[in-house]
Structure formats: structure tokens, C-alpha cells
């Protein structure tokens, strides 16, 4: 009776192993690539929501001001206003006349971009691994009343650049 020799059986095993390995690697790679896409999309969506909040706050603000950093803002909000900086404060007015602050802060040391409501203890949004975008020495700036923010998020897979603009319709 015919049968396989040891060499033939081993060869078949090697071929089967290689084939299985290739298919397995491909499927793993596809799943990994899908995971990377999901991770990057999630990071992108976080910044997109941050940008949307920025634009919305800019549109509804009754006042806004820029500061070099948190220390400058806390030291003297009236005297330390600058044309560009890493802290931006929008002041909104509720229907009952109450004024409420919306604060945006970029912390270069922690590489975080955060949004606060009221004061720096009420954090609403936090973006991590944020760096300054190329060509912009600060995150926030203004130009003839146009408030703008530029930032980049460095994920392990991709660097994502973002820009957001707002202009107070009540200050135009």
C-alpha cells in the first residue's frame, strides 16, 4: 500500500504551517490596521469636538481675552492681556444675565490642551500629547477680532494637525 514518506509528511506540514502563518499574519495585520484607524479616528474626533466647542464659545461670547499662561491670567486678568498666548478666556452671558467664563489652556510642560468652565477646577475636556503646530509659537492668537487656535496631537501612529476659528458675533 502506498503512503507518505516521512519527508513528504514533513514537507506537507511545513507548507501547511507557512500557509496558515501567512493567513494568520494577514488577518492579524488587518485587525491591527483597523485598530489603528479606530484609535486615530477617536483622537481626531476628540480634537474635532474641542474645535467645535471653541468655535461655539467664540460665537456666543460677550468678551474674550488671551493670556500668556495660567499664572498671568490668575495674577491680573485685566492687565496681563496679550495678543497671543496659551490661555484663552471666553466670557458668556446666560439668559438671566449671569456671566460665566469658559477657559481654554495649553500646558506645554504636560502637553495637554484643556477646556474649563467657570474656573480651572471645573475641567470639561482634556486632550493629551498635544504640541504646538509648526509656524505657531502659541496655541491661541487673534487677528482683527478673529480668535484662533492651532494645535497638533502626536499619537503613536500619526500626527494630527487641527485649527479652529471663532469670532464673537456680539463683539463684531
Amino acid at each position: 500500500m502506498g503512503g507518505f514518506t516521512l519527508v513528504e509528511a514533513l514537507l506537507a506540514l511545513v507548507l501547511a504551517a507557512v500557509g496558515t502563518g501567512i493567513i494568520s499574519d494577514t488577518l492579524t495585520g488587518i485587525l491591527r490596521r483597523s485598530y489603528i484607524t479606530i484609535a486615530v479616528t477617536r483622537i481626531s474626533d476628540q480634537s474635532e469636538r474641542f474645535a467645535a466647542a471653541f468655535t461655539q464659545q467664540g460665537k456666543t461670547a460677550v468678551n474674550w481675552a488671551l493670556y500668556a499662561d495660567r499664572a498671568a491670567y490668575l495674577a491680573d486678568p485685566a492687565a496681563n492681556v496679550t495678543a497671543a498666548g496659551n490661555v484663552l478666556v471666553f466670557q458668556d452671558q446666560l439668559s438671566d444675565g449671569t456671566l460665566i467664563n469658559e477657559l481654554f489652556e495649553y500646558d506645554p510642560a504636560a502637553q495637554t490642551l484643556a477646556r474649563y468652565e467657570g474656573d480651572f477646577t471645573q475641567q470639561r475636556t482634556l486632550l493629551n500629547k498635544v504640541v504646538l503646530s509648526t509656524g505657531f509659537p502659541t496655541t491661541f492668537a487673534q487677528d482683527l477680532g478673529l480668535v484662533q487656535a492651532h494645535w497638533s496631537v502626536q499619537s503613536p501612529y500619526e500626527q494630527l494637525d487641527f485649527a479652529s476659528y471663532g469670532s464673537s458675533l456680539r463683539m463684531r
Partner: protein, 153 residues
């Protein structure tokens, strides 16, 4: 007369066609897997490119909507340039720049020089990407937005 019948046992073995079929099947598996991988990679890239294109258009439109009238770009100006994606290059540990893009403005001014002056602004986003998974060439794609109207006063 007795006739002796000698039955010879036929030795089993592979014919030429057997290994050829095996090699063909093996090659088919590899080619399918590679193409499947390329397609998945391309699909993910396209998803990122589409998201980035939407983001660039949103940012550019926001700028034109909220910028002071005097800050609006002039007709035909290259309003913004850059790269669509900055994927990490594992070999160098740096971010690559792929798929260049540019945004230009086409502006039609009406009632120029009067308080009723208006500008109709159309953005044109031009970018280059791979047209298909295996393509080595790049294909230029163009997107034009609807006209955005800004009034001087």
C-alpha cells in the same frame, strides 16, 4: 496448463500534476492574502484621507466665515497648503508627510468700493492620493465648495 499470474503491486506516488496543483493552490493563498491586506490598508487610508479632507474644508470655511472682512484672501490666492497625513515612520521614529494639498480661493466681488460690497467665495481643495491600492502614481483630486457670501457691512 497452469498459468501463473503475477500481480505486481503498483507503487503509489505523485504524478506531475499533484505538486503543480499544490504549488498553484499555495500561490493562490499567498496572492489572495496579500491583496486582501493591501485592500484593507487602502480602505483605512481612504477613510483617514476623507476625514482629513472634511476637516480641512471645515477649518477653511470657518476661517472665511469668521475672519474680519479685511482679512479675507484675494481672488486666486493659495489660501492654505500642507499635507493630508503625517503617519509615523517606524524606521526613523518621525512623522512622514504624505499627500500634499492646497486650498485656493475664487472670489467674485459685487458692488465693489461701496458699503454694499459683497464677496462670493468658492474654495477649491486640490490634493493628490493613490488612485488604487497598487498604484505607484498619484492622482490629483479637486473639490469645490458652495459659494460663501461675506458682506462688508
Amino acid at each position: 496448463m497452469n498459468q501463473t499470474i503475477i500481480r505486481r503491486r503498483r507503487r503509489a506516488g505523485y504524478s506531475l500534476i499533484d505538486p503543480l496543483v499544490t504549488v498553484l493552490a499555495f500561490a493562490a493563498v499567498i496572492v489572495t492574502a496579500l491583496n486582501f491586506w493591501r485592500l484593507a490598508e487602502y480602505k483605512c487610508d481612504r477613510a483617514r484621507i476623507d476625514a482629513r479632507v472634511s476637516q480641512i474644508l471645515r477649518e477653511s470655511t470657518d476661517y472665511l466665515a469668521y475672519a474680519a472682512y479685511d482679512l479675507l484672501p484675494v481672488d486666486g490666492a493659495e489660501f492654505r497648503t500642507g499635507f493630508l497625513l503625517h503617519p509615523m515612520d517606524p524606521a526613523t521614529g518621525t512623522y512622514k508627510e504624505i499627500f500634499p494639498f492646497s486650498v485656493t480661493t475664487a472670489i467674485t466681488t459685487t458692488n465693489g468700493g461701496t458699503p454694499a460690497e459683497q464677496k462670493q467665495i468658492v474654495l477649491t481643495l486640490t490634493y493628490s492620493t493613490n488612485p488604487e491600492p497598487l498604484a505607484t502614481n498619484t492622482q490629483q483630486e479637486t473639490i469645490r465648495t458652495n459659494a460663501l457670501t461675506r458682506a462688508k457691512t
